[in-house]
Amino acid sequence: MMKLRLCSLHYGVRANIWRRPVSHYCSNSKSIISSSIEVKPKLPLYLRPPSFSTSLSELTKWHKWAKNLASSVGSSFVHLDNGPDSTLLQRELNWLLEDLLEVQHHSQILPLLKSGSNENADVAVALRVPLEDLYCAWRQRIEERRPFQYVVGCEHWRDLVLSVQEGVLIPRPETEIIIDLVEDVALKNNPKLAQGLWADLGTGSGAIAIATAKTLATRAHGRVIATDLSPVAVAVAAFNVQRYGLQDLIEVRKGSWFEPLKDVEGKLAGLLSNPPYIPSGDISGLQAEVGQHEPKLALDGGISGTNDLFHLIDGAASMLRPGGFFAFETNGEKQCKFLVDYIEKNKPDSFCNIKIVPDFAGIQRFVMGFHQ
């Protein structure tokens, strides 16, 4: 088990980021992340200084090219593997522009670009990366199916903007509901839980941990431990925690599931996790953005997909304090039922108020309950 001292990480990381040569923005998306001890989180596009300049006409040229590339996709990716269609890609292109340009220039430049007019062609525009890199970045998005969120280095999730990069799972919209469960079920039923210690296991970008810490902070003085086995995830989560100034409330620990939590056994007020749950056999058929770019460690849940979920259920009873809350994300109805059956058969006295909760697409997605 390894504890990261967040403060020292912060300064180290920051210094490195700012010195990082910009061409890394367009680095090979398929580079394999080494498991070296010090992982340097990448600075997302929207946080980079706007230190590159181009003319409006050059930018317009790029924009037209990028738009054409996006429309050439049509719905071919949809048919191929349920990937994005060109409408979605156009929207992503708009977001890319938003991240690329300084906020105070959005209202002037974005309409000009979209109208494609040739007025003010030689006006200089400040960019956060060189124009050449944009060509390369958009080609990666379309031709290599590199996820948009890796291209811009961030994902908007709930009211957060989280840094993400290769090696870290891009948090999903479905997972946002876990925070609603914390607020609307756990803390509503038992407000005292807000003062306790919570854990987010397999934290990835830190999404669940950060949103939980923020909601606890509005009520009481609860704290969160976020863990992950992946060194990239640990570094990125720590970076995001730092960005939201939550280093006093969230501790990021590296290690496998409960292993880094031995010191808090039986003390947890809440246990949250979105563990890998895709059955191994499904991995090869995944949408290109996922299967070819996101880390297997974050997706593969063993033959039935439930290896980690069962491991978490098994540990939950001993980790949670009486009245403590748990919520896990699953692959869908089948896994939810499995888990609930398992709990009812093997641990009838450990948990109560077990419930299955659907996501907004109507898929049974979450299992939650309270420790007796």
Binding site: N82, P84, T87, L88, R91, E92, W95, S107, P147, F148, Q149, E155, H156, W157, R158, D159, L160, L169, I170, R172, P173, E174, T175, E176, N274, P276, Y277, I278, D282, L286, Q287, E289, V290, E294, A298, L299, E329, T330, N331, G332, D359, F360, A361, G362, I363, R365
Partner: protein
């Protein structure tokens, strides 16, 4: 009314005043008004000082009739020997039982009744200024629906004087808020009126005593009032309860496929530029693109003071006639787009309480296993309010949470609007039915072929340059609609 509103209105309207095209087009309008008396009044006082120039010869009929009416009786007059106090002495005094007047009994209506010649600002004597100001005051009162306002104020005062009022604090604060706001409007007009009469007294006094300094000071003051009065007229167009709110503008394509969807997109674009030019913040909440071109439906949020007050003039069906760019046969096509406008009530207002269990929240486009299987930047959600069937979607935010929050805000505003309409019906008060736009409710036609023209079917206001209108030059249409609709209201009283 606070002066910042005045400033904003003034600033916002400047482009209109300065736009020579509008003034030209507008002067052509005069014959289109069904009632020429009314039309000259509307144009003269309602639209702008530029219009004033172009129409003054129509309306400036010279009359030598002496002021023969409406002298205040002596005993009332003595009440006002000090004009600065008096009128508002009663606690919840509302009804203007006593009309303010000058020391020799001249009232605002009296001034208008004497038909003094109104000359341009630079010319003329005090009577010209006084007549212009008095006329403005009448327009302002009309627009504020003065008689209704007084009745309403009396009603509210009676409520406020009840001893058990605060047993229901929500109701009480609503009543006292409305009372305060109406009272403010009423006082402002009264003060303006009084100011006019004071200056007239001053000028008469100065003349009697040959005090040229006092005379020119008072003339200056009258001139200032005359200019202010134009802004106050505009301000009075936007005196509705929710006029100062931000709003949503929704556009939906009518039947006719790509043709209409393209038209709907043009209409939406028109509002976006209109709003941006006015300095409002525009955000796209929801946009459903057509398969080939245009939009099926879209919602934008327009943030800023009086966005609703102006935009509400656009509610209804907009019709386009043109040679279709999508028709290889180059035939003429007619397309329709419906526009709805929903106010976003401020924090001070009472919102309809929404029951969580009445909501169904759906991922707008789903399919597949979701979760870790899928990486999509599409996090659109649709919210259905089950009891009313109201739905809202938002897909333009970058997170599902934000999409949900935006869609929720739309649902809230729609429910508030529904409730407003319901209450308005109960009080049998005037309200526009904002909820369902019927395709029969055409308000404006845009013709690109065989001739070029945009004409409002409600006011007959028209311009011959559709491009400028489609580029957001809508103020002429909006202001003429607002002024005619308010004038109509008062007549119906």
């Amino acid at each position: 009314m606070p002066s910042f509103i005045l400033k904003r209105v003034k600033k916002g309207c400047l482009p209109l005043f300065q736009c020579p095209r509008i003034s030209l087009c507008s002067s052509k309008l005069v014959p289109n008004f069904p009632d020429s008396n009314q039309s000259s009044k509307v144009l003269e006082s309602g639209l702008s000082s530029v219009l004033l120039n172009s129409t003054k010869n129509l309306s400036g009929s010279i009359s030598t009739l002496a002021n023969s009416s409406r002298f205040c009786s002596q005993n009332l007059q003595s009440l006002h020997s000090n004009p600065k106090i008096g009128i508002f002495a009663r606690e919840f005094g509302t009804q203007a039982a006593v009309e303010p007047c000058t020391s020799d009994g001249l009232t605002v209506d009296g001034i208008v009744g004497s038909n003094w010649t109104i000359l341009e600002e630079g010319e003329g004597d005090w009577k010209s200024h006084a007549a212009a100001i008095a006329q403005s005051i009448q327009v302002i009162k009309k627009r504020l629906q003065w008689k209704k306002l007084m009745v309403r104020l009396d009603l509210l005062s009676a409520e406020l004087n009840k001893s058990d009022l605060w047993n229901d604090p929500v109701h009480a604060s609503k009543i006292s808020r409305e009372h305060g706001s109406l009272m403010g409007k009423m006082k402002e007009v009264k003060q303006f009126e009084q100011e006019l009469l004071d200056h007239i007294d001053m000028i008469k006094l100065a003349k009697e005593e040959n005090d040229s300094e006092l005379e020119s000071e008072s003339m200056e003051a009258l001139l200032r009032m005359r200019r202010d009065s134009k802004d106050k007229e505009l301000e009075a167009l936007l005196a509705g309860e929710h006029d100062s709110c931000s709003c949503y503008i929704e556009v939906q394509a009518g039947a006719g496929g790509t043709e209409s969807m393209d038209w709907a997109a043009m209409v939406m674009q028109m509002y976006k530029t209109w709003a941006q030019r006015r300095g409002y913040r525009v955000t796209i909440v929801d946009e459903m693109p057509g398969e080939i071109a245009g939009i099926k439906r879209a919602t934008i949020k327009v943030d800023g003071e009086y966005a609703f007050g102006y935009a509400k003039a656009e509610i209804g069906v907009h019709r386009l006639v043109r040679i279709s760019p999508f028709d290889s046969g180059k035939r003429r096509h007619t397309s329709f787009a419906a526009v709805a406008v929903i106010p976003i009530l401020g924090d001070g207002s009472t919102h309809v309480q929404i029951n969580e269990s009445d909501l169904r929240i759906e991922r707008f486009r789903s399919g597949g296993a979701g979760g870790q299987h899928a990486n999509t930047t599409d996090s659109a959600v649709r919210i259905v309010h089950i009891p009313t069937g109201i739905t809202a979607t938002c897909q333009n935010e970058r997170s599902q949470h934000q999409n949900k929050a935006s869609a929720m805000a739309v649902v809230q505003s729609r429910l508030d609007q529904l409730e407003m309409a319901r209450q308005a019906q109960m009080n049998a008060q005037h309200t526009q039915s904002l909820t369902e736009i019927s395709w029969g409710n055409q308000i404006r036609t845009y013709v690109l072929h065989p001739y070029r023209m945009v004409k409002d079917l409600r006011t007959n206001y028209e311009v011959s340059d559709p491009d400028s209108v489609l580029e957001g030059d809508l103020d002429g249409f909006i202001l003429s609609y607002l002024s005619t609709s308010l004038d109509k209201d008062e007549d119906e009283q």
